[in-house]
Subunit: 239 residues, 4 copies
DNA sequence: CATGAATGAGGATTCATTCAT
DNA sequence: TATGAATGAATCCTCATTCAT
C-alpha cells in the first residue's frame, strides 16, 4: 500500500527496534537511538522529517536537524550511521506508521467500497495532520535513493496491492464488481488515485494544482470531494 | 493539463524568447542563450534535464551539466542567471514541449473518450521516450521550488483542467456522461490517473511499484494497460 | 641504548609510580591508574600501544583504545590527563621495559662482542614478539612530540651510548679493538645498526625493504643475518 | 635505495607528468597541477612537505597547506584527488629527487669506497638542506600508508640494493673486499647506516640522540663524522 | 570511582559562482 | 563572447573531552 496515511509516528516505539534487528539496516540506525526517551526521539524525527520534506535529501542539513531537535551533531551520528541512515530511518518510520493505520482499516468489517470510504476519509484527515511525512513520501519517490527506499517500502506496497486485488476479486464473485476487469490493474489505478489525493492535501505544488482544477475553496469541501471520488471509483469498479 | 507528454524539446525554439520577454524571468535567462545554435541549446538542455532528473535540484552539479553539454561553466552563467534560473528554464521548456503535444490532441476530432484514448497512448510512448523529462516533472513537484515552478506550470495545468471539465460538461449534455458528477473534480481525478501512469513508465520508484501491483511484465503489455485504464475511466464517467 | 628490546611490559609494575613521582609528568598520569589491577593496566597498555603503533599519534582514537581495553572513556581520563599524557605514558613504559632487558645484558659477563651477540639475538626475538612496541618506537621518532618523547627516552639512550663507548674504550685498552677510532661515534654507528635491524623485523615499510635487499626469505634466516651483522661489526671495530 | 638525498625538488618538472601517466596514480594527481607555473608548484610542495613532515599524515591540515601555499583549498582539490593523493605525490617527488642525486653518484667513477665517500658527503649536505623532505622520509616509514608508500619507493630502494650488492661483489673479485661476506646483507647494513645518518642530520629526535651519543658539537664536526663512518664501513667490508 | 552519552570545535571535501585571459 | 582556473563558504562527519548519573 502507499504512504497515504501518516499518523503520529511516536506511537510506534517498537518499530525502530524491529528495524535494527533486521539485517539490512543494522548499521544505519544504532541501538543508542532506541534508548532515548520518547520525547527526544520525537524531537529528532519531527526535526528530520521537516528538514527532509522541505529541502529534499540533498538540500537537508544535518546540523539544522540536530539544532532543531535540540541535540548536538555528534549525538546525531551516535544514533544514525550517516545522513542516508537517518533518511532511510525516517522513511521506514513513515511506512511503519502508515502500516498501522492501514492495518486498522483492513481489519475492519466491510466490502471494498466501504473500505475505500474509510481510506478516503483517513487520507483527508491524516495527510493534513502529517503534512511533512506526506511531503517526504512524495520526495522519496524521486530518483537518487529510490532503490534503497523501495527496499523499505516495497513490502507494504505489496500488502496494499494484494488487498485491493483480493477485495476486487471477492467483489467480482459477490457480483458487486464488474467481471471484465483486471483486478491487479484496477487495484493499481485505485491506489494511484489515493496517492495523488494524498499529495493534493499536503504538497504545495499539488495543492495549487488541486485549487486550479477545482477551485480556491477545495480544502473546505472535503465531503464533496469524498463523495465525488467515491462515485468516480464506484463507477469504475461497479456494475 | 499535467506534464504527461514530453516530446523532443528542441522543436520549440521560440519558447525561450517568449520566456525571457516575460516579467518574472527576465533575470533568470539571458538573451545570449537564444543566440546559440539549436544544436548547442539542445546539448545544454539535454545535459541539464538528465542531471536535474537524476540528482534533483540540490544534487545536480552545474559543472557536470556544462561538461556534458560540452560548454564551459562560464558560458553557463552567461546564459542563465544562476542554478535556479537554469532549473526553471528547464522546467519551462518541459512544459512548453508538453503543451505542443497536448495542443495536437486537443485540436484533434473526437469526444472525451476518444481524446482520453489518444492521451493514454501518448503517455505510454512519450513517458518512455522522455524518461528524464518525466522524472524531472516528478522532481519538480517536490517542495523547495514549488512556488516558482507553479508559476511556470500553472497556466498549462489550467488549460488541461478546463479542457477536461469542458469536455465532461459537453459529454453530459450529449448524454454520454453521467449527470450527477462534478466536472471539475472528475477532471482532477482523471488527470491524477494520467500523472501517476506517466510516472509509472519513467520513475524508478513508481516503476517498481507498477511491477509489484501488476507483475514483472507490465511494461510488455501496453495494450492491456491502455484497455483497462480506459475501461476504468469509462466506468467512472460513463453512463 | 635505543629501544630495541621490548619485552612484556607488565612485568614492570613500578615504572608508573616512579614515573608520576617525577616532576615533568605529574599532571599527565594520575595516581588512580596505579591502583588498578595489573591485568587492567595491561589491557589498557596493550590496547593503547596497538592503536598508537598502527595509526600514529594523531590517527589514534582514544575511544577505540578504551573500547579495546574494555574500560570506559571516562576512566581513561581519570588515569591520564589527556591523549598526550597517555601517549607519553606508553612511550615511557616501552622505554622502561626495554631498560630491564638491556640491564640484563649489561650485567652479564663478557666483552663488547659477546654483548653484541646477545643484543642481536635479543633484537631478533623481541622485535617480533613486541611488534607494536617496536612500531611505536619508530612512530615516536617522528616530529610532533619528539621533544617530550626525548625527555622520556634520553636517559636510557644515554646509558646505551655510555655503555657502548665504555666497552669500546675497554676493548681498545685490551687490544681487541682498533685504537684509531672514536668510541663515541662508533657507539653511535653500532646503535644505528641495531635500531634499523629492529625496525626491519617489525615495521611494514622496513620489512619490505629488508626483503628487497636480501630476499623474500630473510625472515627465515635469522642465524645467517646474526652471523653476518656480527661479522660486519667485528670488522668495523676489530683489529 | 633509501631517501637519503633530497635536493631541490623543483628541478624535476617532468617527474610529475611521468607520474600521472602511470596507471596507479592516474587519479591521485591531476593534469591541472602540471600546468601550473614552477613557482606555484614549488610553493605548494614546500608547503605540503613542511606540513606533512612536521605533523605527519593525520596531523597535517590541508587548509593550512593551501593557505601557506597562497592558494585556495578548492584549487588544492583541483590538483590532487584528496589528502592521500597529495601525500603520495609528495613522497613520489622526494623519491624522484633523490633518484636524480643518486644517479649522479652511481654514474661517477670509482669503486665502492669512493662512492661511499661521496654518498656520505651528500648526506651531510642534503639532509640539512632538505630537512623537511628528510623528516618526511622518516614519517613515511610509519604504519598507516606504508603499503602505498612502498609501491612508490620500492623500485628506487631496489636500485640501491642492487648497486651496493654489485659493487661489493666486484670488490670481492678485485680483492679489496672480504670474500666471506654476504653482499646482499652487507649492502643492507650499509644502507641502514646511511638512513640513520640522514635522519640524524634532520629529525629532531635523532638529532638529540646524535648529540647525546657524540656530544653537543657533532653538527660542527662533519669531517670527523665522515672520516669515522668511512673507517667503520671500511673495517666492515675491507680486508 | 566508573560509565558512556553528549558535546561541538575542527577538518576534509564539494560546488556554485566569478573573473582574468 | 568563451573559457576554465580559482575561490571559499558551506556541509558532512569525527573524535578528544566532559559530566551527570
Amino acid at each position: 500500500m502507499h504512504g497515504f496515511l501518516l499518523s503520529r509516528f511516536h506511537q510506534h516505539r517498537h518499530c525502530i527496534s524491529n528495524y535494527i534487528d533486521g539485517v539490512i539496516t543494522i548499521r544505519r540506525i544504532y541501538e543508542s537511538f532506541n534508548k532515548l526517551s520518547d520525547e527526544k526521539k520525537d524531537r529528532i524525527f519531527q526535526s528530520a522529517i521537516i528538514e527532509f520534506a522541505e529541502h529534499g535529501y540533498d538540500g537537508a542539513n544535518i546540523n539544522t536537524i540536530a539544532e532543531n531537535a535540540r541535540i548536538s551533531v555528534g549525538s546525531m551520528y551516535q544514533y544514525f550511521e550517516n545522513k542516508e541512515g537517518l533518511y532511510l530511518a525516517i522513511v521506514h518510520l513513515g511506512v511503519e506508521t502508515l502500516k498501522q493505520v492501514l492495518d486498522g482499516i483492513i481489519a475492519s468489517e466491510g466490502d471494498l467500497f466501504i473500505k475505500i470510504e474509510r481510506i478516503i476519509e483517513a487520507i483527508q484527515i491524516h495527510s493534513r495532520e502529517n503534512i511533512h511525512l506526506t511531503k517526504l513520501y512524495n520526495e522519496m519517490t524521486t530518483e537518487g535513493h529510490s532503490e534503497l527506499v523501495w527496499n523499505i517500502v516495497s513490502d507494504m506496497e505489496g500488502v496494499t496491492a494484494n488487498l485491493y486485488a483480493t477485495l476486487t476479486e471477492e467483489g467480482q464473485k459477490d457480483g458487486i464488481i464488474k467481471k471484465d476487469i483486471d483486478p491487479k490493474l484496477f487495484a493499481f489505478f485505485l491506489d494511484n488515485l489515493f496517492i495523488l489525493l494524498q499529495f493534493s492535501y499536503a504538497c504545495e505544488y499539488y495543492k495549487e494544482r488541486f485549487k486550479m482544477f477545482v477551485g480556491e475553496d477545495v480544502f473546505d469541501t472535503d465531503e464533496l470531494v469524498a463523495e465525488q471520488i467515491l462515485k468516480f471509483i464506484r463507477g469504475a469498479f461497479g456494475l
